[in-house]
C-alpha cells in the first residue's frame, strides 16, 4: 500500500466519517447496521486506495463505496425492505455531498449547543443518547408517559437543530 496515500486516506476519513455515518444511517436507520457497513466501507476504501486520486474530492469517492456497501449488505441479509426508493437514495447521496460543509460545522458546534440545553431537555437527551435508552425506557425511568418523553425529545432535538443550523441561542424560557 502506498504509504502517502494511506496517510491521506486516514486523515480524509477522520474528517469525513461523521458525514458518512449520517449518510449510512439515513439509509439503514439502525446504528448497529451503520457500524457494520461503515467498517466494510473503510475496508473497501483501503483496498481501493490505489484507485483514489488525492487531487479529487474525497467525500464523493468514499460515498460511492458506501452506497455499494449498503447494497451488498442488504443482499447478504436478503433484506429487500428499504425505507426509501432509488430516487430518494440518489437525492440523499447528492444532497449529502453538497451539505457536507454545513454538516461538519454542526459537528463543531454540538458541544456548545448541548451545554445550552435546559436541564430537563438535557436529561432526556442524555438518557436517549448517552445511555442508549428508547423513549419507552426513558418514560419508565422518569415515571412519565411515553408521549411526554417523545414530546420532550422532539423539542430538545428541535432546539439543538435551531442552535446548530441557525445559530440561535437556546433560552430557558423558550424551551419547554
Amino acid at each position: 500500500m502506498d504509504s502517502q496515500r494511506n496517510q491521506i486516506l486516514a486523515r480524509q476519513w477522520v474528517t469525513a466519517q461523521s458525514v458518512i455515518a449520517g449518510y449510512l444511517h439515513a439509509q439503514l436507520g439502525d446504528f448497529q447496521q451503520v457500524e457494520e457497513v461503515l467498517q466494510s466501507t473503510a475496508a473497501a476504501a483501503v483496498r481501493k486506495v490505489d484507485e483514489y486520486d488525492p487531487e479529487r474530492p474525497f467525500l464523493p469517492w468514499v460515498m460511492g463505496i458506501a452506497h455499494y456497501e449498503v447494497l451488498m449488505f442488504r443482499r447478504r441479509l436478503a433484506r429487500d425492505r428499504c425505507v426509501f426508493d432509488n430516487e430518494v437514495v440518489e437525492r440523499l447521496t447528492s444532497r449529502y455531498q453538497t451539505m457536507a460543509p454545513q454538516l461538519r460545522a454542526m459537528e463543531q458546534s454540538l458541544a456548545e449547543c448541548l451545554d445550552q440545553l435546559p436541564a430537563r431537555s438535557r436529561q432526556v437527551v442524555d438518557l436517549r443518547y448517552r445511555e442508549g435508552l428508547k423513549p419507552r425506557q426513558i418514560a419508565e425511568h422518569l415515571n412519565h408517559s411515553g408521549d411526554a418523553v417523545r414530546s420532550l425529545l422532539k423539542r430538545a432535538l428541535q432546539l439543538l437543530r435551531d442552535c446548530l443550523v441557525n445559530r440561535d441561542s437556546i433560552t430557558e424560557g423558550g424551551a419547554e
Binding site: 491521506i8 467498517q39 426509501f84 426508493d85 444532497r95 448517552r130 442508549g132 425511568h141 432535538l157
Partner: protein, 468 residues
C-alpha cells in the same frame, strides 16, 4: 410540529409504519426543503449517538465508562470490550473503530492509569523506520500499549484512540501515556488533531505541556538546534510552571527550559503575484499578453477582481493581510482557457533552500482550483491546488469561500537568486462549476541545510484533507 417532523422523528425512533414510510419517501422525493430537514435531523441524531453513546449497546463503543448513577442495573447496556471489534487486525477495520472512540480530556498528570495494559494507539504507517531496543518491531496495524517508541531513523505514524494522528521523524523518543496523551523527549513530531480529539496533550521536558484545541502543529526537538514548535492550523495551549499561553495558526515559538519564547509569525512570507514591497519581489506575467484587466470574463484571459471574493475573506492574520488586493481569475465556467502564468520570485539566496507555496481561493460547493509547479520542470506535472490546501480564512455571503495555501515546491534551490513558478487554471475549457482564483506566492526558508544532498523539489502536500 408538522407532519413531516413527526415522520422524521418516527424514522429516528425506528417506529415508522409502512404507510408512514411511503409518505416520508414521497416527501423526500418531491420536496427539497423536506430533504434538507431530514438530512439535518438525521445528522444531528448520528452526531449525538456518536458523541454521547459511550457504552456499548450499538457497537460504536469502545471504552469503558463509569456507569451512570441515574440508572438501575436492569437498564444499563451491557459492556462490550472494544478489543473484540479489532479482532480482524485489519488496519481499515481497526482505524474505523478507533475513530468512534469516546474522547477524553487529558489526565492532570502524565501518569499511566488503570488501563495500562490496554492499547492506547495504533501504528498506522512506517516509512524506513528503524526502532531502537525493540526486539520485535511493531507492525502496521498493530496496537500499541502505553510505553515508549524509540525511533533511530525514518518515520512512524501513530493514531491515538482519540483519533489524533502523530508523525514521528527519527531520531525521536516518544512515550504514549494514554489514549489522548503523549510525551516527547526528543525528535521531530507532527500532530494532526481532528476536532473530536480536542484536548490531545503532549508533555515536553522542563514541565512544559501542550494541549491541542483541534489543529495541526509541529514540534522540533532535534539535536543541535533550538527546540521550537509551530502551529499550522487552529490553536494550541502552552502551559509551563510559570505561566500559560495560546498559540494560533501561523505562529511559532522557541521552547526554552524556563518556558516558551515570544510567539512570532511562522516564516512563510506571503506575497501578491506582483509585489515589490520588500527585499524579495514577485513578478507575474502570462505566456501570452494578458496583463490588462479583462472587461469581459470570457475572453480566454485572466481577469482581475479587487472586490467581491477576497474582500469577503476578512483580515487579521499576517498572511491574509499581506495578500489583500487583486485576485487573478480564470473563468472556466464561462468557457475560458486562460494561458499559463509565470511568477518569478527574485532576491533569493542561492545558498539557501526554499519551500514555495501558492495562495488561492476555493468554494465549498464548486470546484475552484489551480495547478502550479516549477517553470520548465517538464518531468513533473503541476500540483493541483484545490480543497486539500491548508485553510487560512473563510468568508463570502454564505461562508462559501476559503483562502487556502498549498506547498508546491520543497527544498527548492534558487538559480541566480530566483525561482520561477508556473500557475495555470484547471486545464479545461468548460465546466460550469470550475474556476481558478490565484492570490499569490508564499516563500519559506527550508529547514534543510544548504549543504544537504540533492534537493527533492517534491511536494509532501500541506493537506488538510476535507473542506473546512
Amino acid at each position: 410540529m408538522s407532519m413531516h417532523d413527526d415522520l422524521m422523528q418516527a424514522f429516528i425512533d425506528q417506529t415508522l409504519s409502512v404507510d408512514e414510510a411511503d409518505t416520508l419517501n414521497r416527501n423526500l422525493r418531491d420536496d427539497d426543503e423536506a430533504l434538507e430537514q431530514f438530512i439535518v435531523l438525521n445528522h444531528l441524531h448520528t452526531l449525538l449517538h456518536e458523541r454521547m453513546h459511550t457504552v456499548q449497546g450499538s457497537g460504536f463503543i469502545i471504552q469503558e465508562q463509569t456507569p451512570s448513577p441515574m440508572l438501575s442495573d436492569s437498564v444499563k447496556p451491557s459492556p462490550k470490550r472494544w478489543g473484540s471489534l479489532l479482532a480482524a487486525a485489519v488496519l481499515a477495520l481497526a482505524a474505523t473503530a478507533w475513530f468512534f472512540l469516546p474522547h477524553e480530556n487529558p489526565a492532570p498528570n502524565p501518569v499511566i492509569d488503570h488501563q495500562q495494559s490496554q492499547p492506547v494507539a495504533l501504528l498506522t504507517n512506517l516509512d524506513d523506520a528503524v526502532f531502537i531496543d525493540t526486539p520485535t518491531p511493531p507492525a502496521i496495524g498493530g496496537e500499541l500499549p502505553p510505553g515508549e517508541l524509540r525511533l533511530k531513523s525514518g518515520r512512524a505514524q501513530v493514531m491515538f484512540k482519540s483519533g489524533a494522528v502523530v508523525d514521528l521523524i527519527g531520531p525521536a523518543e516518544f512515550y504514549m501515556v494514554g489514549p489522548n496523551h503523549g510525551r516527547l523527549t526528543a525528535g521531530v513530531f507532527e500532530a494532526f488533531v481532528p476536532e473530536p480529539a480536542r484536548g490531545f496533550t503532549i508533555d515536553l521536558p522542563h514541565a512544559m505541556r501542550i494541549i491541542d484545541l483541534g489543529t495541526r502543529f509541529r514540534i522540533d526537538m532535534a539535536d543541535g538546534a533550538d527546540h521550537r514548535m509551530r502551529v499550522t492550523e487552529g490553536t494550541v495551549q502552552l502551559i509551563w510552571p510559570n505561566g500559560q499561553r495560546t498559540l494560533t495558526a501561523g505562529y511559532q515559538c522557541v521552547l526554552r527550559p524556563d518556558g516558551p519564547g515570544d510567539a512570532v509569525p511562522v516564516k512563510i512570507l506571503a506575497m501578491k503575484p506582483n509585489d515589490t514591497r520588500g527585499p524579495l519581489s514577485t513578478t507575474t506575467t502570462a505566456l501570452t499578453p494578458d496583463s490588462a484587466p479583462a472587461a469581459a470574463d470570457n475572453d480566454n484571459a485572466w481577469g482581475f477582481s479587487a472586490a467581491n471574493e477576497q474582500a469577503q475573506l476578512g483580515a487579521g492574520s499576517f498572511e491574509v493581510d499581506a495578500l489583500a488586493g487583486q485576485v487573478w481569475v480564470a473563468r472556466n465556467d464561462l468557457g475560458e482557457n486562460p494561458p499559463r502564468l509565470t511568477t518569478v520570485i527574485a532576491g533569493l539566496d542561492d545558498a539557501r533552500r526554499y519551500n514555495i507555496y501558492v495562495y488561492y481561493i476555493t468554494h465549498t460547493l464548486q470546484h475552484w482550483q489551480l495547478r502550479a509547479g516549477r517553470t520548465g520542470d517538464v518531468n513533473k506535472s503541476l500540483i493541483v491546488c484545490d480543497d486539500s490546501g491548508a485553510q487560512l480564512a473563510s468568508g463570502g455571503n454564505s461562508d462559501e469561500l476559503r483562502l487556502r495555501r498549498r506547498r508546491v515546491l520543497t527544498d527548492a534551490v534558487p538559480a541566480a537568486g530566483s525561482i520561477s513558478i508556473d500557475i495555470d487554471d484547471a486545464g479545461m475549457t468548460y465546466r460550469e462549476d470550475v474556476r481558478g482564483f490565484y492570490k499569490g506566492i508564499g516563500i519559506e526558508i527550508s529547514d534543510k541545510h544548504a549543504d544537504s544532498p540533492t534537493p527533492a523539489d517534491q511536494t509532501p502536500p500541506e493537506t488538510r484533507g476535507a473542506n473546512s
